[in-house]
Symmetry: C2
């Protein structure tokens, strides 16, 4: 079981960086389609995807967004963070087996409201930018350290 | 089997609206945690969530983002859309059994690059805004009409 520990507003300094990585599986395409309802065949049907400009199945755009959300929620600032807003520019498609890394850097803090702004640069395993954007959060003021919940098994098909 | 039919750039007029709705299930919380890796207990652990300001489990912020992505990918403009960018402000939490509706309105078109900008207002079943934002896409130029892929069964636990 892994430990989740947050970084409080007072602990966060401008310029602090953190990152979070995940590899896209075929199953993730199905799970994201299920949870969002987005059954566009470019994400699900390998034969159809061959006929598109991408030549193969691509991840839903907001799959990348979900990794940014995860990076904020479990790494920096971590548990207790309130997500206020996000901008994202999608720059390149994400394919099955791509390992996507969300790199974050704290660029702004506002003491009275505990607002923190983080620049996000999301790259694949070749270092190519797949998305960039800015996240606005309220950082937690109290230290939280807890066991990450274990997810149940998920069986597809 | 449902049919997906896109709206081409030429068919899209300024002021055109469309919407897309989905109800958040308990299973969706687990699936989104799996696909994003975000195992923050505020989304997964009902007992823990009771101790937070929300009082119960809330959806991941980007769950709402995923519904916007779905609305663009399967409704307006639909299949063939290229997602360029998205801004989102999160305004209220989304809870289990909430029915979330993404309302979209076309506010800008740029003929030379087939860019379309859509304002997005995302509300719950009480009409309360849970998020607002702007989507930028390249709309498809060719008509696409196809059968939506059927998703396999997904069993949790």
């Amino acid at each position: 079981m892994s430990i989740l520990e947050n970084v409080t507003f007072d602990e966060i300094e401008i310029g602090r960086t953190a990152s979070y990585s995940k590899t896209l599986s075929e199953e993730d395409l199905v799970l994201f389609a299920k949870v969002s309802g987005d059954v566009n065949p470019v994400h699900l049907d390998a034969e159809f995807a061959k006929t598109t400009q991408f030549g193969e199945r691509i991840a839903h755009g907001m799959y990348t967004g979900s990794l940014v959300s995860a990076a904020l929620g479990i790494v920096l600032p971590g548990p207790g963070t309130i997500y206020l807003g996000q901008s994202l520019r999608f720059r390149a498609p994400v394919m099955v087996n791509d390992t996507i890394t969300v790199n974050m850097e704290v660029v702004k803090k506002r003491d009275d409201k505990k607002f923190v702004t983080l620049e996000c640069t999301i790259v694949n395993q070749h270092g190519k930018k797949v998305a960039t954007g800015t996240a606005d959060v309220i950082a937690p003021t109290e230290k939280i350290k807890l066991d990450a919940p274990e997810l149940p098994n998920i069986i597809i098909g």
